[in-house]
């Protein structure tokens, strides 16, 4: 602020001082708020992570400092907890679900986005509405069904049930993205001599890839974390990581350090992709809003 005529800085008015003070208070409040939020959400997670490296004695003391140990991990992969097998089950179920869900959802999303069906929008909406149905309602008949054909406690049963959760959402996410794509490109491909299917493969899918990736990440998070269906459908061979959390509750009391090891294992992939999740989530959302 320079005043050419006087050369002296003008005295700040009372209103200016008040505004400045207000701004300072606001920014201090802001920082305090952000710190509080960070602490509330970060510290519990950190505490769980730390617990995974504590000896049982350290777990029940509330000391912040402790001697880290890897004993819990050794114990977790041992015969009582079979962490390795649980990880493998979780990977098979997640990968299997994604391999079926994403291609079939992409195909259906394109179909719903570009073709008219008798009944119109009722079908995709109806599909989404099924997600309002309580999970317990769906699992009772499926439990009976899988029991009668001997699929209880197999990854196939889990993959099949997970599809029912993931496919409706994935169709909607990808459909939203495809609705926003201009028709020009695929029509150009058709004029260039491609069949409609070829135009889908060569043009629509590559261009819709950000949307498909968003849906894939969403499905990955849901499937990897899925607990309830797995709790009902598995008992031994096919137990996934989230269900194995329950096995830390033994007759001799809760073995929290083992729970923490399993929890850490579940969280690792989420930590790796949390920034990607945030980016894709926001991108998908703003893309929808701008349109």
């Amino acid at each position: 602020m320079t005043s050419l005529s006087s050369g002296v800085a003008p005295m700040p008015t009372k209103a200016q001082i008040r505004r400045q003070r207000n701004r300072k208070t606001m920014s201090v409040l802001r920082i305090v708020g952000i710190l509080l939020i960070t602490a509330l959400w970060l510290l519990p997670v950190l505490w769980i992570c730390a617990t995974a490296f504590k000896s049982p004695g350290d777990v029940i003391s509330l000391d912040i400092f402790f001697t880290p140990t890897l004993d819990n991990f050794a114990k977790a992969v041992g015969p009582n907890y079979q962490l390795g097998g649980r990880i493998w089950n979780s990977i098979i179920v997640t990968v299997g679900t994604l391999l079926v869900a994403i291609p079939s959802s992409t195909a259906a999303a394109y179909a719903f986005s570009r073709f008219r069906y008798p009944g119109g929008i009722v079908w995709p909406i109806g599909l989404l509405a099924t997600q309002f149905v309580p999970a317990v309602m769906i699992i009772i008949p499926l439990f009976i069904l899988f029991r009668s054909i001997g699929l209880l406690d197999t990854p196939i049963a889990l993959i099949a049930v997970n599809l029912s959760v993931v496919v409706p959402y994935a169709i909607w996410m990808i459909k939203g993205f495809m609705d926003a794509l201009p028709m020009d490109m695929e029509e150009a491909a058709m004029m260039d001599g491609a069949s409609r299917f070829r135009a889908l493969i060569d043009v629509v899918i590559p261009v819709a890839m950000p949307g498909i990736i968003t849906a894939t990440i969403f499905c990955f998070v849901v499937t990897w974390n899925e607990f309830f269906y797995a709790l009902i459908l598995t008992s031994n061979d096919s137990v996934t990581l989230p269900v194995s959390l329950m096995s830390a509750r033994t007759d001799k009391g809760d073995e929290w350090e083992i729970m923490a090891v399993i929890g850490l294992t579940i969280m690792v992939p989420m930590m790796l992709i949390s920034r990607v999740v945030q980016r894709h989530f926001l991108k998908g959302l703003t893309a929808g809003a701008v349109k």
């Binding site: 490109m185 004029m191 491609a194 261009v207």
Partner: protein
């Protein structure tokens, strides 16, 4: 190279008529422009030729062969889209080469042809770029190159210049015309811009509300508009239209309009519209002029001065010498070049 024939073709969207039943033939090597305001059915007609839209009735023939129900890919027709329809995930070269790739040409063959076409539209330097890194004019060129690389039977262009700025539009217009004449490919071009239509076309189809209003050469369209709609739509500033009556070969209208027609054989009529283009009138003294009135506004456009006067209920504009100057509320008279007076039926709008 091919002729395109539309045989009683029409399109309904539900109960709404998109294009009324119509027939026309586009000759081999011809540059045909579909012109009309938005929603007139020009794009719908083009999309039926392309095969992107199935007609509700009638047939589309290319070289005498019925292609009405063929997929776009089986028609050997290329199309340039308004928003170019480039593939954002492919380089410029891959974009141009895509039609060849789909047809199963080897990579080497494709490369040679891409190079050849790129030279023709001056894109050789940009072949490795992505479309997003190009300017509007360059994108337009890529779309053109992609359309001509396989030498299609028919070329369709859907408002290809509407996204470019005015200057670029003029130069691209010349380029398109040049390319089309050089390659001799039958072309259908959709636009709402009359200048584009008049400059590019061998023949023009003017459409409104799904109905063809006139089909003819640019000269015919401009000099003998078939009805009031065409008369009003073509020309800038548009043709003056004055409601009046015809008696004993003399046209009269409120405000003292008095035009003795050259062709005195016209029947007497109560409801007639006289049309005259601004450039077919001359500014003269108000006393004794065929049309005279109080000046409403005058505009200097550089090469001319356009004077507008209030005559009765009508407002009439004439093109005058660029040195003309007027005063506020001055009385001004116009004389008409009687060779270019158009008469239309006041009710049906048809040319008399």
């Amino acid at each position: 190279m091919a002729s395109v024939e539309l045989d009683g073709i029409g399109k309904k969207f539900g109960d709404v008529v998109g294009v009324a039943t119509q027939s026309m033939t586009i000759h081999d090597g011809e540059f045909m422009v579909f012109l009309g305001p938005s929603g007139c059915g020009k794009t719908t007609t083009m999309r039926m030729i392309a095969g992107l839209l199935e007609p509700s009735e009638g047939r589309v023939l290319v070289d005498g062969e019925d292609v009405t129900y063929d997929a776009p890919k089986d028609r050997d027709i290329a199309m340039v889209f308004q928003n170019y329809g480039l593939y954002p995930h492919m380089s410029v070269g891959e974009n141009i080469g895509y039609p060849l790739k789909v047809r199963g040409l080897s990579k080497a063959d494709r490369k040679a042809q891409i190079q050849d076409v790129a030279e023709r539209v001056e894109l050789t330097q940009l072949l490795d770029r992505r479309p997003s890194a190009l300017s509007g004019g360059q994108r337009q060129r890529v779309a053109l190159a992609r359309a001509i690389v396989r030498r299609p039977k028919v070329f369709l262009m859907d408002e290809p210049l509407s996204n470019l700025d005015a200057q670029l539009r003029v130069s691209m217009r010349a380029e398109i015309k040049h390319l089309q004449q050089e390659m001799g490919i039958t072309t259908v071009y959709v636009t709402h811009d009359q200048i584009e239509a008049l400059t590019l076309a061998d023949r023009i189809v003017i459409m409104q509300k799904g109905v063809i209003q006139q089909l003819g050469t640019p000269e015919e369209i401009y000099n003998t508009p078939a009805n009031l709609f065409v008369a009003n739509f073509i020309g800038s500033p548009s043709m003056n239209l004055i409601n009046g009556s015809l008696e004993n070969g003399i046209f009269t209208a409120p405000g003292g309009v008095h035009v003795p027609l050259k062709d005195s054989s016209q029947k007497n009529r109560a409801n007639v519209v006289l049309g005259i283009r601004p450039e077919d009138m001359s500014v003269c003294d108000a006393v004794g002029a065929m049309i005279s009135g109080v000046l409403y506004n005058s505009e200097m456009t550089g090469d001319a001065v356009f004077a507008t006067i209030d005559v009765g209920e009508a407002r009439v504009c004439a093109r005058g010498d660029r040195h003309l100057r007027f005063q506020k509320a001055q009385k001004v008279g116009f004389d008409l070049d009687l060779d270019y007076v158009h008469l239309f039926d006041g009710k049906s709008g048809a040319r008399l």
